[in-house]
Amino acid sequence: MAKRAKQVLSRRFLPQDPRAAIPYRLTPALALRIGVLGMLALIVFAVLFLRLWALQVLSGAQYLRAAQNNQLRTVRVPAPRGPILDRNGHILVSNRAGTEVQIWPSDLPKNRAARVRELRAVARVAGVPLSQLATAIRKHRGDLLTPVTVKTGVSEIRVDYLSERKEDFPGVRVASTFLRSYPYGSLAAHVLGYVTEISSAQVNALGKLGYKAGDEIGQSGIEATYDRYLRGSPEVDKIVVDSLGRQRTPPTPLSLGHAGDAVRLTVDLRLQQAAEQALQIGMQDARASNCYGCWNANGGAVVALDPRDGAIRALASWPTYRPSVYAGRIRKTALDAAGLTAATAKASNYPALDRAIDAAYPPGSTWKPVTALAAMEEGVLTPYSTLQCTPSFTVAGHTFNNWDPNASSWMDLRTALAASCDTYFYRVGYRFYGLPGGPRLQAWASRFGFGAHTGIDVGPEQTGLLPTPDWRKQAYTRKTDPCCWQVDQLWKPGDSIQLAIGQKDLLVTPMQMARFYALIANGGKLVTPHLLQDVEQAPSNGRRGRVLPTAPFPAPAPTNVDAGALEAVRQGLLEATHLSFGTSVGVFGSFPVAIAGKTGTAEKIIDPGDGYPRTFNQSWWCGYGPFDSPTLVVCVLIENGGHGGTAAAPAALHVFQSFFHVKSSTTGPVHSD
């Protein structure tokens, strides 16, 4: 019984195991090992405690900041870009509402396969190639806190799809934005310019001015020059997101934005429209005249400015484009069709080129007043000295022809200008050739603003080319002509002779020409052509509406040209439009307002696209009115338009008709150079 009790006991919870032969004891060896384990445990806990202390107490503030930044996203809500107005307040450019899809790369799925799947879906919905998306995101690498704008102007239905399935598209958000809107289509496209998303190079260059990736920025014209006024400042909002980038709180503004300022131009909408029509009229007239090469009249420029202060009233260039192709997502096919890519520009005759300021042409006879003024200033000529106007002029075995082979009379300066006698000016030019003291004609031309930028507030601008003996020396080297470069380097009589009638190497822009005629009109002052009238700050977010101070344009600069000489030229220009032998009398003779001006027919070697470069006549007309107190200078160039009186003068007339609100009663036959 005792044994059984013992068995019962052993099956219960009491300690003694009857089978243990030797009672088990805690040996020193085991004690040591337990001690080692104990030490190990203490070390482990000490390490954990210290690390916890370091993380939470020593650098807790830093990690707290990191945790807060984790969930915070700053969103830039774009400000509406300022409108561009004409001088009478007509809106030339404004905004329309658009939507865009933003991708936040940091909130995309961490898993590569899921990320690719999502991007593919977004690409399909937004109608953007996946590769384009990937490139955009790659470009954004390193900037996790601003979104990649996928597409502006996606359609409503597509936006709805994305916003309804927010959960399926972590890191993708639909936002509203503003797109540029152009109520007059292509009107004044070169003046206004266009707007696109800022490039990474521009972010790097302009980051100091507060530009951020994703901003819109003006890329040309007024939009570029006055971007600092137009862009306004975006509202910066703070939102809290979860780890999938889903918005958890309504946006709270960190800084209030304000709308862009309105930029008012000196341009007159009506006159601008007239100027663009005038270009069409000029080109039509040219083609209708059936003159040699006029079939190729497919480009031109009109400059209309106030000679008193250089305010530009109209600035047109043809061919042109619609800046709206850059609003929203830019499609390469649209750019191609508009001729705005390098590959297609030539076929469309360079529509992005502003021919008024960024293209240079030989001025032809419109240059003769320059020669006349310089000659009188240098004592080469007096207003009343007479020279023979012959059918041709021969110097050192070279013969230079007059445009009118029947001319044969003695002329004073006024008549020579009015009849545009070439041989008269050849003789004047030859007198300059022998003149001591360097190239005096060029010195005066330079004083009149040629060979330099006009300082207009849009760009880019060409300086043209004012040839001098020094220029010849530098321009011609063994490389340009291995046989005769030493001869090319010489300034020869022919150079002076042809320069006198605005030919050979001389190149000017229509804007330079208009500026020079403004100088004639305003009594010898060189104006700075400009487009900005003022900047008007819109009242928004506590900013009151007011006109902002802007840097004034330089006042018209006196060139100290002799008043008598100027008067002689002015009379010549008036006779050119009013006397029977005047070159544009048929156009302006019966116009109710007295217009003075000069035709020009400039020979330029052009490849019309058939691979045979040959000489084409560039049609010019520059002038001003009213004669007594000029308020408008107009300068028209029609590429390959034939004679100045054929194409450019009728175009200029159209501009004057619009400006003075009068019509010319008749237009007579045109006999001009």
């Binding site: 009491l14 195991d17 088990y24 337990i34 954990l48 690390r51 939470q56 503030a61 945790a67 969930q71």
Partner: protein
Amino acid sequence: MAVDYVARSAARTRRREASDVTALVRRLDWILLGSVGVLVGYGLWAIAGITRHDVPGNAHYYVVRQGAYVAVGVVGLLIALLIDPAWYARRWRLVFGGAVFAIAIVFAQGAVRGSKRWLDLGFFRFQPSEFGKVLFVVALAGFLAERSRKLDETRTVLQAVGLACIPIFLVFVQPDVGTAMVYAAAFAAILFVAGVRWLHLGVLVAVAVFVVTTVLWIAPAGGVHILKPYQVDRLTGFFHPNSDPADATYNIVQSKNAIGAGQLNGRGVDGATQTTLHFLPEHHTDFVFASLSEERGFVGASILLGLYLLVVWRGLRVIALARDPFSAIVAGGIVFALLFQIFVNVGMTMGIAPITGIPAPFLSVGGSSMIANLAGVGILLGIHVRARGSRR
């Protein structure tokens, strides 16, 4: 007479049983039991906060489940406490077979999240390797206790290593590198407590170091990929934590942000953005310590670590008190496995240990881990109850 005898015998038996229960209660390690109890309660409270915003509309989803696991675990603890270790010491072969079978059976199942660690029982996803941990310790202890006089022989050590490698390998290829590491750590402690010679231990450590470096660096450099690339990234990622937040070390960066942001007093349940906005992945399982630290701060995390320390200390004390080699070895294996899991899990969240899928003992939401750990504590308590002498 006979009736009288039977009646008296029954009464005696009842008295004896009563005294047995009294003895058991008296001999319980109340500090160990109490600290585990507080730890489990503290864990439930922490989980309640951490998972409050996880399941929309059901703030108590996880804490209720975890409570149910604790209830099952308490039953497991009681059973383990009541069974005399000698009973299963004799049956270590059966225990070993059961462990290997349980671990191997998951290979018949489909993979969950790329690995085969769970056995789906419909109402409960069962992770055999967690239970296998306890069985593994018991089986290896039984093997070594049987050969307690031949422990000095290389042959015995090699046999033990061979035996241990079977379940370790099976867990490793599930793949569950973390749990395999726990097995290996427990095995090391078993050899250590059993009294294997220092020389043998040294050689084994050297071999282990060689194998690890081969698997992690040398073999991949030679073009042989034993581990999957993500595993290598996770195991080695803590050497260069700030390399790329979007990939391998995203978890660790977010985890450190969470812990650090908790500062001294914690950000509270609603202010803990790392947890509630899901920046911290697996915040109720593997990274639960980071969530606890974010919500309850240094104070709250220290309380947890203090409780862990208490449990480990009482566990080490059980080794010293064990009445026989088997009990001592089992206690050593269980305690060290616990210590190892605490270090790797907590260390991982703080960026000082590799990222492995080891849950925090008594804290992470998970039935298998909770039940197995409570059963392990039950074994420790059972050993303590049957300890030498009568002193506590």
